[in-house]
């Protein structure tokens, strides 16, 4: 099931999606605290030059995270 779910890491610049939940529990509380709440809208802004880390917008502010962390956040599409 886990690998079927699409994650923030697979989004492309400019795309928006709704957060479904977390693929692993690891770091989920940190991500929650930073505002990655199930049901909220995440927008993929841009990637760093080597493709990693990435910059996303969530509830009106910008956060950078690595692809590894982005892959933990599943999205609805």
């Amino acid at each position: 099931m886990a690998d079927l779910a699409k994650s923030v890491a697979q989004m492309v610049p400019g795309e928006t999606a709704v957060i479904a939940g977390f693929i692993t529990d690891e770091l989920s509380n940190k991500l929650l605290e930073m505002g990655f709440l199930p049901g909220s809208v995440v927008k993929f802004n841009f990637k760093a030059p080597f493709g990693d880390p990435i910059c996303v917008s969530i509830s009106g502010y910008d956060i950078t995270l690595r692809l590894e962390e982005a892959a933990m956040i599943s999205i609805l599409n």
Binding site: D25, E26, L27, S28, N29, K30, L31, L32, E33, M34, G35, L37, P38, N45, F46, A48, P49, F50, G51, D52, P53, C55, S59, G60, Y61, D62, I63, T64, L65, R66, E68, E69
Partner: protein
Amino acid sequence: MKRLKVALAGKPNSGKSSLFNQLTGLNQKTGNFPGVTVDKKTGIIRLDENIQAEIIDLPGIYSLYPRSLDEKIVAEIFSDRRNNYFPNKVILVADATNLQSSLLLLTQLIDLRLPTVLVLNMVDLAAKSGQNIDVIKLSQHLDLPVVLVNARTGQGIQELKKVLAGNIPVSRQKIYTLEKEITPAVDETKQHFKLESNYEAYQYLQQVENLSFLREEDKVFIGSLAAQYEFFPGKYQGAETIIRYQYIQDLLSKVVLKTADTEWKRFSYRIDKVLTHKVWGYLIFFSILFLIFQSIFAWAQAPMDFIDSTFANLSNLLRDVFPEGPFFDLITQGIIPGIGGILIFVPQIAILFAFIAVLEETGYMSRVVFLMDKIMRKFGMSGKSVVPLISGWACAIPAIMATRTIENWKDRLITIFVTPLMSCSARLPVYAILVALIIPDDKLLGFFNFQGIALMGLYLLGFLAAIVSAMVMKWIVKSNERSYLIMELPTYRMPKWSNVGLTILSKTRTFVFEAGKIILAVSIVLWVLASYGPAQQMNQAENAIDARINNNEVAADQRESLLMAYRLEHSYAGIIGKAIEPVIAPLGYDWKIGIALITSFAAREVFVGTMATIYSVGNTEDQTTIKSRLKAEINPDTGGPRFTTATGLSLLVFYTFAMQCMSTLAVVKRETNGWKWPMIQLAYMTALAYVSAFIVYQLFS
């Protein structure tokens, strides 16, 4: 007069430090929280005629559950009423453009039953983004005072002081209801430790390992309770965060009138397009590095020369004024040059931190982390290691302290380990004299100065050594802890210059006191070693020199400086220098250089002064004199010059790699909680320096 303790809390980038600066101005003190190595900033201000407040600036955090060293202290202070810094009142600074994540911590403070005032900062920006906040309704819902502040201009500060001086009742809101399964354990904990709130007791259960004020028996008590109720730290944390955010979103839907408008962010995105571009981004970053580099050298030179000559003059002046005697010698030759040796680095450190502060203030530093993270990870570090490594060019001490923002222990350890390989400002005087000695002052293609290229090469060499060592460390050090990067990218804005000024002041102060006390102590010890020796030989100094003058071997006007050289040779430092000669001979050094290597442990630049003394130059002020004297020195074994290209290069390489700095070792010991890592670092860097210098000397001789 009554004195309150007021804690200043909030998330990173909420304008917390600006508000702290507005409240306290120049009236601030920096130090460490007791027992932990977290920067503590406090300032005492007057609220009204009868009440003073000690403002305590806490590290920026999103929630009470800590992840880095910095963050632990906040949970510790808020859940220990006996803590010296436990506040009477709390200011929670919230970024009005991003209320949601700013309020998470507030909901925890309310559950801890702490009297809190909510400060809304950046309301002007929030208005620009189309958000209209109903402050009265917000205050009613939260049941606590809300003050609007512009931390950049200082608007609202008087109002905040008035609110702080008045009575702030504890909010009657209850936001998070504990899970049923854990309430009996919470009740028992609350009773056992006589706590005020359930949530405080809950923190004891959640953070038993983080709260250092808990004694062993307390931990055992909590541990058995946790086992009884099948609880473990971290359980329910995710659920708690979601419940808190539900409350916040519900609240915000009632008090914030929002029109979708992201116009104000467009500008920031446009800048990001350039600054994080795959070509322009790096080009701009490296140009900024080059600019920093250039200015450290160009702008710092004049004030450094001034400090140097002032202390030399002061020392000479006092030598004339004071009577003779070991005590006065200690002052004029040990303590005053020791203090001068500390202050001489202040200009370079101040300039470097001016740049770093401006880059942080504008929001650019977060982009550097973003740009460099992938590259730095290849070398076992993180994007956040860039600032410490750059700071290492000025001084390893503030640089190592700057690693505290790195959450992952392994990333942080590697950064601490390799930072001293970055060529710090104390190496520059050593480089300068040796490069001038062995590299011709010619130009390549009539344009590039050879000496300049050599100097650049040495900085590059140090940097490469740091990178390669980090890569090796990455394979050796094992860690189960996950490395991650989850960080806010703040919107670009103009720096606030008073914040920049205060950062420079506090960083410089940290250096002067942290490194200063050790440099001073070591220079006094070394002064004793270099001034005293076995009485028999020391007492013969005058006779020996006079005999040589009488035999016309040396000129009479050199008596004073020859005497100094003679005493140094027969001092304890000289004896040690001679003792290590067999060890350093393969590197091309004699016992005279050996003495200089030893005295360099106070600070590397002492090398120059020691060389001047041992070669009886007398006046240590004049670089050209030292240079020509060193050039004329003959190696008795070969009959040729002592400072051949091989010896010079070998010394340069040695100084680039060797860990000759007690203050750095002391700081590493403190930051890594023990002697293990500083000792490994000392052994590694010494071995690296020795082997490299050996290879260089053998290749070139």
